[in-house]
């Protein structure tokens, strides 16, 4: 392309400098530096890659052209959730995490990267207030990993293998957790009743070999577990640890799991100030009490506050670094590596902006608008709510009575520019409503769905309540999920 090859990203391609540097090393050419790479392993041809765009304007045109093929949730009316959520991200959050100083730093030390330590310590602290727990980690990859690690911690602490899965779990999350812990733990799903944990069934299965009871609240269907306190008491009596997977978005109004008996609270922070990013922006938290038994089993970094040589000044550093794989290799707890620190900073900024009143207002909204949506959709003949649980942000409806399939609804409404929800059963749709889904948006969904139901009315056979309930109970184990069929396989394993 250009001869000799130069590039704005490669300053020392400038010919004179390159030669001067070669001279300083005493090498005749760059090839000398590769003396240890055997000839037989050398690639004898150029890599077969597409022709590049060295001029920035051409690159920009190319990539923008590709991205312009996308139609986002700003172009479509979206009721999609199922693990990635559409929440409003305040501009200040983006401003902070796009600062070069944060975006391009890495594993800095407490001095020249004091800002990173403080920002992440604050993230831990803000999350701790929201969760009412004293210890929160520097983010791990995502909520899947957080819960997997939380369960593994329970296994290591108790020395037991059985885990009772009390709630409905996202199939992909279940898949991840199952493969991650299967050497150490055996998962047993206890079917839910009416959307939430079956206390009696769990009580019956508890025993001295149970490491943990695993709740998800809100569950995969958005159901809030209401019997957490009661079941936690039972679990503790049996010597088991209560591990909760959650989304912290509701704890401005809802009682946090720690105040209902949970020992290890885990989850995802995508809802707290991160864009949807096609599912590509997740971070996981693990929260425990200030108890070395638990803390020493955490693999992640924990930033702590410390005194300095200046009275009254606070500094920061790593707590109990010797736990980690950095220090101990395979003798550490799992491992620690590059995970999701910047997303943690984002979540911290988000919580600082929202404050207690913002989180209370948002929590209330995430109860109220979905409830309204439930009312509107359930008013459509043949459409029923799939369970009677309390829901935050998400809920499921069954459209069988309207002569429709969930896939059919999705297909039809997409033609109107609406993503009506996620198909989680043949006739069951998971509908997500957030602060970005207005009353008018909900009304539009209801009107479109009602139109479909009417259209389908004449040509279908009625569906009994029995089939509806059957499908509801089968939600998790027989999930017809477009992207995560591993569930069946894993759960049957």
């Amino acid at each position: 392309m250009n001869q000799p090859f130069t590039h704005p990203y490669l300053p020392n391609t400038a010919p004179d400098v390159k030669q001067a540097m070669l001279d300083a090393t005493g090498a005749a050419s760059v090839a000398e530096f590769y003396a240890d790479v055997p000839d037989e392993l050398r690639l004898s041809r150029p890599l077969d890659l597409p022709a590049p765009f060295p001029a920035e304007q051409d690159l920009a045109r190319h990539v923008r052209g590709l991205l312009a093929k996308n139609r986002s949730t700003e172009d479509r009316l979206s009721f999609l959730g199922h693990g990635t959520y559409q929440h409003y991200v305040p501009a200040v959050v983006d401003e902070v995490i796009n600062r070069s100083e944060f975006l391009t730093a890495y594993a800095g030390e407490p001095y020249e990267d004091h800002g990173r330590f403080q920002a992440l310590f604050q993230y831990q602290s803000l999350m701790a207030e929201l969760l009412a727990m004293d210890v929160v980690n520097v983010p791990t990859y995502d909520g899947y990993q957080a819960t997997a690690t939380g369960l593994a911690m329970a296994g290591r602490i108790t020395g037991r293998r059985r885990v009772l899965v009390a709630s409905d779990v996202l199939p992909a999350k279940y898949s991840k957790v199952a493969d991650f812990v299967r050497v150490h733990l055996d998962l047993e799903h206890v079917p839910t009743v009416n959307g939430t944990a079956d206390a009696a069934a769990i009580a019956a299965r508890l025993g001295a070999d149970v490491a943990a009871v695993w709740f998800e609240t809100p569950s995969a269907t958005g159901a809030v577990e209401t019997a957490l306190r009661a079941i936690s008491d039972l679990a503790h009596e049996a010597g088991a640890i209560v591990v909760v997977g959650t989304d912290p978005i509701g704890y401005g109004v809802l009682t946090p799991p720690a105040e209902q008996g949970a020992d290890i609270v885990t989850g995802d922070i995508q809802s707290l100030g991160l864009h949807q990013w096609y599912g590509g922006a997740h971070g996981g938290f693990i929260a425990v009490a200030d108890d070395p038994t638990f803390i020493m089993e955490m693999p992640s970094r924990l930033f702590g506050l410390a005194t300095t040589d200046v009275p009254g000044e606070v500094g920061f550093g790593d707590v109990a670094y010797e736990r980690t794989s950095f220090a101990q290799r395979e003798e550490g707890k799992e491992w620690v590596g590059t995970a999701a620190a910047l997303w943690g900073i984002a979540a911290g900024v988000y919580l600082a902006l929202m404050g207690p009143q913002g989180m209370a207002d948002l929590g209330e909204l995430l109860l109220a608008r979905p409830r309204y949506a439930q009312q509107r959709l359930a008013a459509i003949p043949g459409v029923v709510l799939a369970d009677g649980a309390l829901h935050l942000r998400e809920f499921t409806v069954n459209v069988a009575g309207a002569g429709l399939t969930a896939e059919g609804v999705v297909e039809a409404l997409r033609r109107e520019g609406i993503e009506p929800g996620v198909v989680v059963g043949e006739h069951t749709l998971l509908v997500c409503v957030t602060e970005l889904t207005s009353q008018a948006d909900i009304d539009r969904l209801a009107a479109s769905l009602a139109g479909l139901a009417t259209a389908a009315d004449a040509s279908t056979t009625p569906v009994t309540t029995a089939t509806i309930l059957e499908e509801q109970n089968a939600l998790v184990s027989d999930a017809v999920l477009p992207l995560a069929p591993e569930l069946t396989q894993e759960q049957n394993a």
Binding site: L49, P52, S100, I295, A341, L483
Partner: protein, 522 residues
Amino acid sequence: WDEPVIFELSTPGERGVFVTPIEPGVRDAVGDVVAALPAGLRRATPPALPELGQMRVLKHYLRLSQENLGADLNVDIGQGTCTMKYSPKINDQLIGTPQLTAMHPLQDPADAQGVLEIVWSLERMLAEISGMDQVSLHTQGGSAAIWANIAMIRAYHEANGEGEQRREVITTIFSHPSNAAAAKAAGYEVITIFPDAEGYPDLAALKAALSPRTAAIMVTNPEDTGIYNPAIKQWVDAAHEVGALAAYDQANANGILGITRARDAGFDVCHFNLHKTFSTPHACGGPGAGANAVSAALAPFLPGPRVVREVAADGAVRFDLRDTDARSIGSVAPFHGVIPNIVRAYSWIMALGAEGLLAAAEIAVLNNNYLLAKVLEIPGASAPYAAGRRRIEQVRYSWQELFEDTGISSEEIGIRMTDFGMHYWTSHHPYVVPQPFTLEPTESYSKAEIDEYVAVLAEVAREARETPEVVRTAPHNQTVHHTHHDDLDDPERWAITWRAYQRKYFGAGTPASAAEPAETAA
């Protein structure tokens, strides 16, 4: 700045951002949903989050940002093994569009053709770069990718009925510790090979360790010493001879792009760190992004879902999502990976092309060998192992001689470096090299910048000899002073959150007014 912890800035009643109001029509229909919560489910006391006006939150975090030293601001070659290269600003700008940020992963694939094409194309480009058949971009970082490597290896052996038999994984001491740690987490026993007298990975030791119990070798190459293992193919062949798989940690691939490929050495599986070799920013420690590349034999075990490219009879191209089959290790993370970084890495490769990637590798190696020559001129610095040989893209150096002469440790030198606006990483697991420091200049820094870095190193080394107290009492010029890190290993004194700090140092609920611990620590 002497910026307080954010809780200290709180004023009751201040607001940072409002939530949109609940519409009257909704409120009328649903009533007071909070009051209607079941007993015990309504939070009794609001979370004690701070209350600040919007500008004060912004100011707080902007000040914290100025107390941080990003790669954009310093000559970031002191963070060896991390490949701190330039993350082009155009890539950050390109990803900022709602056409990416506001995409939901379960939207109609017809509405996601752009992002799916980029994922698919990057997979294909990385397949070419590694020589492998299939690539997955699901993981969020290098260690997560290592986990995916071992999870696939485990599934492979299980599928072949050898799951019970193969219980060992072999790695080298200069491979990243996550190889050992992830193998352990997957249930394997870990065997670690130390270098031979020359500093090269010890092939004989490997052969002695290999057996039918071996599930895999998991090695980095070039290792964190910058030494390329010239017998790498023999390592792989030896592993294959006992039926083990060979996994290649390509975190250090930056010097060999277009020079040599994983598959050509026989590896079955490898991973790249997009945040190292492919320029995505390091983001204070993530999100990064991992890429797992595998041979055809291992392809069925890749995590899902997979992006596929379909060509219709009329030639129309369409990208779609496909579930994996039962042999897959399943889901390793939500959805499709760290999309912002996938688009950045794609853009970086497309800015350079084949010729540019090769040039990047060659310049990275030139920079490193130039730096090596310069560092070795500093009295007290040395480059252990492989004496007189060239290195690839980084070098693990040692201040052992300086330490013996002066008592100044590498860690103290690192802290003093910060006073010159330079970053220097003091964490070098494992501490096999005494008084280690690892420098990796990548292709991004000019000769003048490398010279400046070496000049500061030399100056601090001079100080260590002539005015050691200056080095020992550093930092002298930072926003925070010498910090008492021994607090952090004592469960009675560590404070992992503000609420724990308040409770332990001041008694629960008492506001902070000094940093001395209360007599009655909980």
